[in-house]
């Protein structure tokens, strides 16, 4: 992320930004002369200003008061056009630029415990250490970060890495400026990658729209931006629409209407995707319960805590990896999966052997006992790990998003969907194709008959419960990526899990799958219209009505076992 901030950048803006307005009446003339000189210098020596000049400007950071003055220095640095200023500006944006109190010198710094390792802001040469008390950090805020991002623009337009050029084109598109046209023309002429070139042309078109170029050029620009068709294009065209007249205004209005109609189509697609994604989370949370409650008939209120234990296992694994094997961090989830399964399955086994086996056939007592167990587990975790949230990081392959058309799909959601379906497939295989699954089904269908065939029913019960708990545990690994890891984690999922299993049909794995996805999609289609609160209520009411009509859920299990 910090890397992205560093590289995201855009054009040198003429000082039209807010920073030049308020503060510098007396300094105005002086600074204007200084800027002109620097421009001259930049054009005279093609390599940019000399290092001494840059140092001079950087030294001003030490005396700049307030964000607007720091912003002015940033503009001054950017105006030199020297690629060397990228390093200090990036350091400033990241909050890594310091002033040494003793001699007011400016350094780039890297925090290392109580001290900061200093380096030359331009060359990056190390220049010793300083205690935190001896230096002051140059503060940045959002507005300043944006100024730096814009200022770095043209400097990174010619970067070797296409990703950096894309980021530059992107910021230039979002902050169009007539002065960008020149540098963009040069960049377009030398650009070899087609996709980057298209982005640069769009950025140029955006700049044309805010310039005073002839109407025909602007109309062409609107057509080009209209073809881009995303929200940023709407955003840009809306401001163009507001600030222009006649043909340009009409063209902008038409382009916006056009984009909006395509976006409406994508919105529907987005709702379906969000629904599927929510459905996959529901499926993961409910799938363990589909075994303990659905197959075995145990009303297991401690199910959510099994999920929570899985999440805490992930936390412990990541903690060990962070301190001992930092290189393995991207593998932390893969390592956590089997461990979470084992931890939750073991706890499940203990619960079954210790409590539940005495309560078969007494649903009310089971409900109360497992509720009690859930409270014990919660408080135990709270005592061991503390009541506060624990930090579980996202591995790099689960961060960020990618676009399919106008649809942004986040990686973590996609992986959770894949994972949920995999778990479901594996579980289905175990239940339908393995001898153990056969025994499980036999015991649930007719316990006495199964026992007389030589199946050790108590152990099948125990192992089935452990399996259900273990699956809940690995669901916890996945859910730790999107939710907060606290002792209350399980509480949020227990109601939804029961809802899915009951709605889908008790005892039927396919019912759980269909139930989870249909609830997810209905929920996400209602949310934009009814709001999250009302949406949830509507879904609950629908389920109640549905259960009235079909008490056994979507896919009722037929057979004698259910009547018993």
């Amino acid at each position: 992320m910090t890397a992205r901030v560093r590289t995201a950048s855009s054009a040198v803006r003429t000082p039209n930004s807010t920073f030049f307005k308020g503060h510098l009446e007396p300094m105005n003339l002086f600074r204007a002369i200084g800027l002109t000189l620097l421009f001259l210098l930049a054009t005279l020596s093609s390599s940019g200003a000399s290092e001494a000049d840059l140092r001079g400007i950087i030294a001003k950071f030490a005396t700049a008061k307030g964000f607007s003055e720091i912003g002015a220095v940033v503009h001054e640095l950017a105006a030199t056009g020297d690629p060397a200023v990228e390093r200090p500006l990036a350091a400033l944006a990241d909050g890594n630029l310091y002033v040494r109190k003793a001699d007011s010198l400016v350094f780039a710094g890297k925090e290392a415990g109580e001290s900061v390792q200093l380096s030359n802001p331009l060359s990056g040469e190390a220049s010793g250490e300083a205690a935190k008390d001896d230096i002051t950090k140059i503060k940045v805020n959002n507005t300043l970060r944006r100024v730096i991002r814009d200022a770095l623009g043209t400097l990174t337009l010619g970067a070797k890495d296409p990703a950096v050029r894309i980021a530059a084109a992107d910021t230039m598109f979002k902050t169009p400026d007539a002065a960008n046209i020149g540098p963009l023309d040069t960049a377009i002429a030398s650009e070899s990658v087609a996709s980057v070139k298209a982005l640069l042309e769009q950025a140029r078109a955006a700049s044309v729209l805010v310039s005073d170029q002839p109407e025909a050029d602007k109309l062409a620009a609107i057509a080009l931006i209209g073809a881009r068709g995303d929200r940023d294009a709407v955003s840009l065209l809306t401001s163009v629409e507001a600030n222009s007249t006649d043909a340009v205004k009409e063209a902008a209005t038409a382009a916006i209407a056009n984009i909006n109609s395509t976006l409406a189509f994508w919105d529907a697609g987005q709702n379906i995707w969000y629904g599927i994604s929510l459905g996959s989370v529901l499926l993961l949370a409910a799938i363990g319960l589909a075994i303990t409650f659905g197959v075995m008939g145990v009303i297991n209120m401690a199910h959510g805590e099994m999920v929570m234990l899985g999440a805490y296992t992930t936390f412990v694994v990541q903690q060990v990896i962070r301190t001992s094997f930092p290189d393995l961090f991207d593998w932390s989830l893969v390592i956590a999966l089997p461990l979470a399964f084992l931890v939750s399955a073991l706890v499940g086994l203990i619960i079954e052997r210790g409590v539940i086996r005495f309560l078969y056939g007494r649903p009310l007592e089971t409900l109360l006992a497992t509720w009690g167990v859930s409270l014990i587990l919660q408080q135990a975790v709270r005592s061991i790990f503390g009541p506060t949230n624990q930090e579980v990081g996202n591995p790099s392959w689960m961060s960020g998003s990618f676009n399919v058309g106008q649809l942004a799909i986040t990686w973590n959601r996609l992986w959770i969907l894949v994972f949920a379906l995999t778990v479901f497939a594996v579980l289905l295989y175990v239940m339908k194709r393995t001898p153990w699954g056969l025994q499980m089904r036999a015991v649930t269908a007719n316990r006495r008959m199964a026992a007389s065939m030589g199946i050790r029913t108590p152990w099948v019960d125990a192992l089935t419960f452990a399996l259900g708990s273990g699956i809940a545990g690995i669901a916890g690994v996945a859910l730790s990526q999107i939710d907060n890891v606290s002792p209350n984690l399980g509480r949020g999922y227990i109601i939804d899990s029961f809802m899915v299993v009951v709605f889908g049909g008790v005892g039927n794995l396919w019912g759980t799958l269909v139930g989870a996805f249909s609830l997810g999609i209905v929920n996400k289609f209602l949310e934009p219209y009814a709001g999250a609160v009302l949406g949830k209520i509507v879904v609950l009411v629908l389920i109640i009505l549905f259960i009235q009509k079909r008490p056994r859920g979507l896919f009722a299990l037929k057979g004698r076992a259910v009547e018993a």
Partner: protein, 436 residues
């Protein structure tokens, strides 16, 4: 048989008497101490936030005892656990006051828990110190509000976003959890924004349930709302637990603070501790205290806290500072009154001034709210806040918002002769009602 039985009874009653004598020994000793009640949830959903405050109070009481106690007596903390259960708050409060005879109670987090103990405190005439930022629209004789009222947090935060430094925001998303604090705060903010000339179509209000975890639709709605060509910001009153998935979704959908900043009122150092903050750099929060504030008082407070809790990774936060201020005010008021009698202490509290941790003094006002500076901070990669703006002076807590039609005529002044928490200046009568 009979004789035997009576011997047993006699022995039994003797041992009961003996036990009673033994038990009364510490009770006698307890007369030399002043009891302070701590009413924070140590289990259940709110334990995540409230346990820290219990520990902070224990530390403050320890420190006061190390300084020699109060009025020549030692302070003794009485900790109870209302278990995030609102009716239980009232029961435990009654237990603290009637059974343990505490001199004052420090506690509560949610508004609903505070509302549930109010009748107990007025009935039994004791003192409650409430340390959390809240929606206002209340002023009780027995309660001292050391957290921020809306004008000490929400209004300055919005002012900052509207300023040039804050990015001259023109379009607003008010995102909150569906309960009393966000609803009232957003009502105040909406009225305030409209008074500042923001058009109705530039304000979007949305609520989500408690503990909400699937933020995809909401975040994409924010993205859509933000693409209207005007600078957009989100003002978030989303409650504790739901914040982590909210921020994760913001990061994943690539909403950067430079483009659409999120200003939060319920996210502090403690909430960020469970989060990888690298994608959140630049998002904002408004509080009256940040752990990163560089003052000698704060450094000492943090060092003491780490020593007390035996973990130097634990953060400090705004409600802890509120308890710090509240406790010191109470100590000063008791010294001033020369007694712990709640009636006398309540009168002595008004006007008491103690140092806060941000390098100034906080004073208890006649409306039982305190003066505080308002700080706006940006989230940093290390999970701390960097102060980017600070009100020039102290802001006095305004219990009845001036921006709500129902409460704009109300004032509170607990000094004699007015002694009223809801005096209506328009009708000249005590007993107006606010918005909730």
């Amino acid at each position: 048989m009979r004789g035997n039985f009576s011997t047993i009874t006699r022995m039994f009653s003797a041992s009961v008497v003996a036990a009673g004598l033994l038990m009364s020994a510490p009770a006698k000793a307890a007369d030399d101490t002043i009891k302070v009640g701590i009413l924070h949830s140590l289990s259940g959903t709110m334990a995540i936030s409230e346990t820290t405050l219990k520990d902070a109070m224990l530390m403050l009481i320890d420190e006061q005892n190390a300084k020699g106690g109060l009025l020549g007596k030692k302070l003794e903390a009485v900790v109870v656990d209302p278990a995030s259960n609102w009716p239980l708050f009232a029961e435990k409060a009654r237990e603290l006051i009637s059974k343990d005879k505490v001199a004052a109670v420090f506690g509560c987090w949610t508004s609903v828990s505070r509302k549930s103990v109010l009748p107990v405190f007025s009935e039994l005439d004791n003192i409650l110190f409430y340390p959390v930022q809240y929606e206002g629209e209340e002023s009780e004789r027995n309660v001292f509000y050391t957290g921020a009222a809306p004008n000490q947090q929400a209004i300055p935060a919005v002012d900052y976003l509207m300023s040039e430094d804050g990015g001259s925001v023109k379009r607003w998303v008010l995102e909150g959890t569906d309960y009393v604090y966000p609803r009232t705060t957003n009502k105040i903010l909406e009225a305030y924004l409209k008074a500042k000339g923001v058009a109705a179509e530039d304000i979007m209000v949305n609520y989500t349930p408690f503990g909400f975890s699937d933020w995809q639709t909401e975040v994409s709605a924010i993205k859509k709302f933000g693409s209207a060509g005007k600078k957009t910001a989100v003002v978030s009153t989303v409650n504790g637990d739901a914040n982590v998935p909210f921020y994760k979704e913001l990061g994943n959908q690539g909403i950067k603070a430079e483009d659409i900043p999120v200003m939060a009122f319920s996210v502090g150092e403690e909430e960020l501790a469970g989060l990888d903050t690298a994608p959140l750099v630049g998002h904002l929060a408004a509080w009256n205290y940040f752990e990163s504030v560089d003052t000698p008082e704060n450094k000492k407070f943090i060092a003491d806290w780490h020593k007390f809790i035996k973990n130097d990774k634990r953060t400090t936060n705004d409600p802890m500072e509120a308890h710090y201020i509240g406790f010191n005010m109470w100590v000063k008021a008791v010294e001033k009154a020369g007694t712990t009698d709640p009636d006398k202490v309540i009168d002595a509290m008004i006007g008491v001034s103690v140092p806060n941790l941000t390098g100034g003094y906080s004073t208890m006002m006649p409306n039982h709210h305190i003066t505080k500076p308002v700080l706006i901070g940006e989230i940093q990669a290390d999970g701390q806040f960097e102060t980017v703006s600070r009100t020039p002076g102290l802001v006095m807590g305004d219990e009845w918002s001036d921006y709500l039609p129902d409460s704009k005529d109300l004032i509170s002044d607990w000094r004699a002769p007015l002694s009223c928490g809801n005096f209506n200046v328009a009708t000249g009568k005590c007993g107006g009602k606010g918005t909730n």
